[in-house]
């Protein structure tokens, strides 16, 4: 009876010690800095910065391996906030990432759309209106031009158009 209790307690302690060690080894020490940076990003997970989402980009900034000008949807405002937080100089948005935000927006060719709803599921800002089995359309004022809805479309009915047109 007593051996049983001791062994179970020992097992639990050993396993939790293992978990704590692994968590220490894996968890970056700058997670609170990354938290603060992530709070300033738009957090729409559009991945235009080249990182898979806002959190990885925030971590890259926190570890000094990425510039603060890689967020097109955030634009100049985000860059200014980040510069203030980190004590770096503000810089213009990196043009190579596309000035997508507010310059271009997605357009669904409504006669081709089959209503599969896949574009609406990936849209980070809910700018696509429509229900499954019916055609969809873009709410242009919400669209950030992130192009995330292009790859999932099975009939390629989405194109990017210039906003002024």
């Amino acid at each position: 009876m007593l051996t049983g209790i001791i062994i179970l307690v020992g097992l639990a302690t050993g396993l939790s010690a293992l978990l704590v060690i692994v968590a220490r080894l894996l968890g970056g020490s700058n997670s609170s800095a990354a938290d603060a940076i992530e709070n300033l990003l738009p957090r729409i997970q559009c991945a235009q910065c080249g990182y898979p989402g806002c959190r990885p980009y925030a971590e890259a900034i926190a570890s000094n391996s990425a510039d603060i000008n890689r967020c097109p949807p955030g634009g100049a405002e985000t860059i200014r906030a980040l510069a203030e937080l980190l004590g770096r100089d503000p810089m213009p948005l990196d043009d190579s990432l596309g000035q997508a935000s507010m310059q271009k927006s997605a357009l669904i060719e409504e006669s081709i759309c089959i209503g599969c709803n896949r574009c609406a599921e990936v849209c980070p800002v809910d700018a696509i209106a429509g229900v499954p089995q019916r055609m969809h359309t873009i709410i242009t004022s919400h669209c950030t031009g992130c192009e995330l809805c292009l790859p999932p479309c099975p009939v390629d009915c989405i194109s990017m158009v210039s906003r002024s047109a």
Binding site: I7, L15, L19, L26, P52, C116
Partner: protein, 193 residues
Amino acid sequence: MTELGLIIIAAALVNNFVLVQFLGLCPLMGASRRLEGAVGMGLATGLVLTTASALSHLVENLILIPFGLGYLRLIAFILIIGAAVQLTELLLSRFSPLLHRVLGLYIPLIASNCAVLGVALLNSTASRSLLAAIFYGAGAALGFGLVLSLLAGLRERLELADIPAPFRGNAIALITAGILSLAFLGFTGFARL
């Protein structure tokens, strides 16, 4: 060597945990809406299954049996599975934050996936060697991932299909799983454990 190969095939196809032994049906329905999520779930469950079966075997044979505490194996296995799930979640959130977000709630649910406990208990009942136990766990994981991805692919197609109203949603998913299960019965007799 042939025996280990047979164990993998037997656990993955012939005695497939989901479709033949009906273990782990909750994640089958819950995590098979999208193919990407299903593949990720299969990988995460596979990691848990393999580590948990190895650890359970070690703990049972090196600690529990020498002290005559075989009756504690159930609770010890649950402890080990919980730790293995937590380990997987740590690794996943570090190396694939997107997948971590996609799977979300289903990662802690791996702990209550009865296939994981089932593998550990079946290993202990059949008193397999450590290597055989690991291969059995890996085979079970392979079968689980295969079925999950198959069903997710089918469900993605079903979403576009014109299904009669009473069958839409979970009803057609369950029917699909049933038909898949019938297909897997075709493997019966390929390999024996």
